[in-house]
Symmetry: C2
Subunit: 525 residues, 2 copies
Amino acid sequence: MDLQGHQLIGQQSIAATGKPIYAINPATGQRIEPGYGSGSMSEVELACQLAWSAFDSYRETTLTDRADFLETIATEIEALGDVLIERAMLETGLPRARLEGERGRTCGQLRLFSNVIRAGEWLDVRIDSALPDRSPHPRSDLRQRQIALGPVAVFGASNFPLAFSVAGGDTASALAAGCPVIVKAHSAHPGTSELVGRAVQKAVAICKLPEGVFSLLYGAGNDLGQALITDPRIQAVGFTGSRSGGTALMHTANNRPQPIPVYAEMSSINPVILMPAALEARADALGHAFIASLNMGAGQFCTNPGLILAIKGEALGRFMAAAADAVSTSAPQTMLTPGIYAAYSAGLKQLRDSGKVSEIAASNLPTESKSPCHSTLFLASATDFISDERLHAEVFGSCSLIIECSDMTQLQEVLEHLEGQLTATLHMDEADHDAIKRLLPTLERKAGRILANTWPTGVEVCQAMVHGGPWPATSNSRSTSVGTAAIYRFLRPVCYQDLPQMLLPEALRDDNPLAISRLLNGIRE
Amino acid sequence: MDLQGHQLIGQQSIAATGKPIYAINPATGQRIEPGYGSGSMSEVELACQLAWSAFDSYRETTLTDRADFLETIATEIEALGDVLIERAMLETGLPRARLEGERGRTCGQLRLFSNVIRAGEWLDVRIDSALPDRSPHPRSDLRQRQIALGPVAVFGASNFPLAFSVAGGDTASALAAGCPVIVKAHSAHPGTSELVGRAVQKAVAICKLPEGVFSLLYGAGNDLGQALITDPRIQAVGFTGSRSGGTALMHTANNRPQPIPVYAEMSSINPVILMPAALEARADALGHAFIASLNMGAGQFCTNPGLILAIKGEALGRFMAAAADAVSTSAPQTMLTPGIYAAYSAGLKQLRDSGKVSEIAASNLPTESKSPCHSTLFLASATDFISDERLHAEVFGSCSLIIECSDMTQLQEVLEHLEGQLTATLHMDEADHDAIKRLLPTLERKAGRILANTWPTGVEVCQAMVHGGPWPATSNSRSTSVGTAAIYRFLRPVCYQDLPQMLLPEALRDDNPLAISRLLNGIRE
């Protein structure tokens, strides 16, 4: 398929005339054709108008039709074949295996949401039957279901060009909820975005859905994104990216005449706690496994282990020696964009300049990449960490900070001083259990996911996943951006009181034609 | 019980020294003793510190202990006896029967949440079992539950001195979720608040809970409320009141270093649509029933029918004549406060001054009340309504605006121009069903609750209720402030990955010791 550099609006392919976006090969620094002209207000207007006109019918498609649509998107993405992987490799510097895995995850995610749609649990049906003889007042017949919120704006992420981009988790969950989606492509991988966007566009046509169900816009700078989220027809925003980007979107969304929710997944340093017994038993193995996790995707994971907490001593020394050894033999990987490389370098410099950290290892193997990630390990004292907020900032890349604590009390104090996190990880043996019981309340308050004897990189797409957490890990700790519960971000409840059966939505009728789980007079049926 | 005019902070009773608040008897304009000295930063600090220190243990109380606590609050409120009703009558001007009914609802609400806690559905447990042999990557064991968000600030409402005040819906749902609560009493009924506050305080002691689970603060003006919601320990806000009050709270909450959710239930004019066949068949009866609903609580209900939509013609004429007749014989009721009376008078004046409405009836029976609500009906054309936003504003009281439409198309156009609403009501016969099918998508987008052949005043506390709706009816259309689903406002998900059984919360253990409904590998068990 030849890339055209167009905006995909409904079933149309439109050449916009604003400042063009070009992908840059981060390994070589070279520009990649074609250019993608930035869209303007008129493209935003058309996409929003189409999305709005599609909304009422799309949100009431049958469970089967909507589930089939998500499956068709997966099929069409797979049908793109190797051209998708090759373009994504060029645009992101990510290796083939990673991108093939990510494609599998993206399509698996669409198929999982397809199952979720069919199961109908997301409708959260609650029925309270009429009680005409109740005294002193009779009770009406009351029935609740969830309906789609409205058209959703999704901002593609840089670090998962497939799984968190055009047809990624935000798009899949919003489409599953019955919301039309308008994606703003991430400027780092416009060609990958176009390929996936055309697959979605084709699925819309195959499934005979209203064309406004999906559009894909491009824009250099922030103007197009701002225009999109200030449009009154947009009812929610999905975003994965930096803290500054997320807070800017929130500010705009909160200051609309009608404020709307922004689901922004932003920054996290993902503390890993090495409990004493575990550290004593396997410091060396933990050190090596730590660096393997740190280096995944050149550290460009939201769940990268950016902070290690342990008690000072000989075992921690062994852990650091093993980790330093693994770092020094780490081959530099190409980072996603020249901009991310520059930000990583600046983040390392800020840590070094703080005067509070000592550098204990850095990879320095030669590389020809123009955007290399040199893995770097720092050490700081718990006291310095607690007193200096600069040490708490996420450095996006393979950088981690080890904090030496005097004892478990100080370690817990460090945890209490952390901002909200996506994850918190414990390495433990049975002898550590009692101490962990005292830590768990803190960890539950600080993080969306608590892991034992594993590493936080790697986010399973399933029913129980929480990829979220207290501010500033996300803008809304009551949700997740990965896993099936992500669908609830884009739904709202509606109650029907005393409506005749024939006017009720199918989900709420007495004979339960959708055969879904419902709460009937407080009892799950 | 003698009222002391104190702040109730944990188990303490503290005389604050700020500007005192006095209740005013709205019927007589007379001040009611005692004065309640406004709290300052030191009272906010103490309440927040106690709430924070109670949080970790309160949120992990057993389901039984927490359910017993809510039941004990209900018992203690009932034990106050007639002193509560008499004080509330003095402070609010509401009649005895209404307040006795509201007390029943308040205690019933606490007991319903007690049942919700015990059932454990709110934990939304999801378990995805480990798949150690899965290829290419094994799956970890992943388990999700909901945990309490943190201490919640609740602002008492003027119009339900029991059911939406100190131990009302916001407090009951937050306590049920496991959140300590700090209430700011509404200044219109400080004595009623103290009585209920002492009942809650006593229940905390009886149930041997940490004292910080509940505090009750008083403050003239906005300073104390602002101090409360900017305190970093407060994690969510519940509010029922005006649009300006709700948006001010949202602004403050959004601009904290850590933004927090505000659940504000604000303003709604609650359109009632008289469908042609129903109007033709029973215009007279509908007219009388309409005024009965309009006059309930002197119109001081969030769900007051402030807007009637119908097609111009003879039947609408009969409806208006019947309604006008009922209005002219309506005895003026005392409004809740002199301030609400003043705002009602100003709202009527704004409508009259708009030049777009004609007054078709107003009650003018004599009254000795100093804050009388004279029921008032206006008429306007659909065209004028659509073009003049002043006609869309809520006038809190027994005021309603009838909109004459030329046909169903114009009626639907009026609906499309409405802001978000708590309710939308249809009066219909079978001959109206086809036309209603075309209206329903609009109504679903505009309102949280859709009613047929009844009136919106009266909100059942049950599983299926939605007392919420799109902006500006509420700040968050994805929630409800009445009914059991209100508990979800104060919860967030946490995922546990590969934790040993003994470290897992009981709700997530293999043997399901709480015997709750769970989603196991996608199947409801």
